[in-house]
């Protein structure tokens, strides 16, 4: 499953992802940028957990896993009770004051099925948000470590 993953030290807190998300999703942003210690920006969005607590807790079973693997809210079933917001360890789902339904990242389901990247990834000017297979960043890290090790071995 392809996922959005974060490279937090690249985030400069410009909130372009928020604006792009807002434009793409009926003027309700689903991404957040938290500022830590008043200085360090940290991009936050739904992690589409493997075993999502929101999915387990939803009393109306309105939260489901889509074909692309994203955890999505079925707004036709959502009653806006905010249970998902209570159980989410990242505090991501939020009950919209305008529609009374939960607003939550759907991993840009329509874009991803078209083969495009999610809009937040597309809009990030610094590449702090990346889109790819879950193993991809791990594989990159492994390769980098292997290269470093090889260099170190050669040096001695």
């Amino acid at each position: 499953m392809k996922q959005v993953y974060l490279v937090p030290h690249r985030c400069m807190g410009c909130e372009e992802c928020l604006v792009a998300c807002e434009k793409a999703h009926d003027w309700e942003t689903r991404a957040y940028v938290e500022i830590v210690d008043g200085y360090f920006p940290f991009p936050m969005r739904c992690n589409h957990c493997q075993d999502a607590p929101c999915m387990a807790a939803c009393p109306k079973d309105a939260i489901k896993r889509s074909a692309s693997g994203a955890v999505v809210v079925d707004t036709a079933l959502c009653i806006g009770c905010g249970t998902c917001s209570l159980v989410c360890p990242f505090g991501v789902p939020r009950v919209s004051a305008r529609t009374g339904k939960v607003v939550k990242c759907d991993l840009c389901d329509d874009r991803v099925t078209r083969g495009e990247r999610p809009i937040c990834v597309e809009s990030c000017p610094k590449g702090a948000l990346q889109f790819g297979e879950v193993d991809e960043p791990l594989a990159m890290r492994r390769q980098r470590l292997a290269r470093q090790l090889k260099g170190a071995l050669r040096a001695c």
Binding site: P8, M44, A57, C81, C88, G91
Partner: protein
Amino acid sequence: MTATRVPVAAPDEPPPGPHVPRVVVFACNWCSYTAADLAGTTRLRMPAGFTVLRVMCSGRVDPLYILEALALGADAVLVTGCHPGDCHYSSGNVQARRRVDFVKQILDRLGLSGRLEMHHVSAAEAPRFQQLMTSAVERIERLGPSPLSAGCPVLPPNKRDAFCTVLRHIAGQLSVTPPEGTSIEEALVTEGFGEPEYDVDRCIGCGACAASCPQHNIEIVDADGTRTISRFHSRCVRCKTCEESCPVDALRVVPRFDLAAFLSEERRPALELPLVCCARCGQPVAPRRQIAQLGDAMNDHAVPREDTMLCAACQRRAHAAAMRRHMTAHRQAGGQT
């Protein structure tokens, strides 16, 4: 209705002779009353036996008025309002149609079918008004006079009690008896008009009813560590969306009457629930009951605890700070990001 309700005297005995129908017409000031006026000025021939009462909107006609008119000796009641979409006050005629349908149901059960109608007449439709009056009077002549003897008991100030009193009075005269163990109003009013009622012991205060109500009838106020759920009872259209949305089946639209309210912004507190506040910022998070029942559905997931509960914003902040600490530690340990 104010507390000092004046008892209405029964009208005088009709003079002997052929029965002249007594049809009470509630006519909207902006359309059918003007149509009646136009019918008069254009000298259309009108039948005898109807009385036009002007109301500012057909939505002003309370089911109580209709029942009272029938109890006081009217043979039929007509409610006339603007065409749908033309209401001077945007939706009064739709409300009126709903109320008339509600009373019609009751009258059908009482055996008084055909004595109540609602029509939409615009201000220009004088011939239609004339035709409606003629057909109404003709129908009453066919149906015969009302089986009720004119007279209405003194009504209590509370509107709901007043409605029940009239209902009991009419049912008593028609010797309609409710099934064993039920009151007459329960037997007659079964569906449609009603009001949402909370099961105070079951409600977890999640606010789904308020979020789903299309009329914004339910209001939630979080203050001083309590969540107060209240209703504006005149806004309710009995769509039952709240009933369907309630995750714990604590809300039911009960067959009761709460009719056109005199104060549309009258707030009716339904229940109060203690809130759990965010352990960091102190903002209210959710009612204690909602958090307490989270455990049931959560399977093996960590269930949030009441004393360490964070609001969503603090939760995000806490996570971001933890990640930041992790990154710093990673870098200090010589790792690359």
